[in-house]
Symmetry: C2
Subunit: 95 residues, 2 copies
């Protein structure tokens, strides 16, 4: 239990962590919903979602709600696992 395990830099970011935290409870959420809940700017959120997506932590699906574009995000199994590992590692620091 001794020693500080490295913290996944992808998750050790306020906004990305908030996104993952939301998604782990929801399983699926729209861009606009995440934006509201996190209070992030659209630009920032767009960038951070891409990073999570490229890491395989979330899946991003682009569709439409009527004529309006809707970007939907879903956490992956890999994402859940990474989140849990991160939380465990973090506990050494704050426990």
């Amino acid at each position: 239990m001794t020693g500080f395990k490295p913290l996944d830099p992808l998750l050790h970011s306020q906004l990305r962590l908030a996104v993952m935290s939301l998604l782990i409870g929801l399983d699926s959420a729209a861009f606009t919903y995440i934006r509201e809940k996190t209070g992030a700017t659209a630009g920032n959120l767009s960038v951070q979602l891409d990073k999570l997506s490229e890491a395989g932590y979330i899946e991003i699906e682009k569709g439409y709600n009527g004529k309006k574009p809707v970007t939907t995000c879903k956490i992956t199994a890999q994402g859940v696992e990474a989140f849990e590992s991160y939380v465990n590692a973090l506990k050494e620091y704050i426990g």
Copy 2:
């Protein structure tokens, strides 16, 4: 479920958080000790300790052990408070 409170950026850093985590348990520690426990490079540690010091989260005292220079760090009351607030805020994110 009050939403995501901002995370003190000074503490939301792997190395600085590890330092604070160590100091909160020890009350006082030498630079070299912190370096060993955290595995940080001296340069990085030096920079991060300065930041914590400038924020008033720790106090840095320079003395000697015989002829050898010894830099000693101590967490402040403000530092303890900041750490606790950070941990509380973080709990919203990680459950």
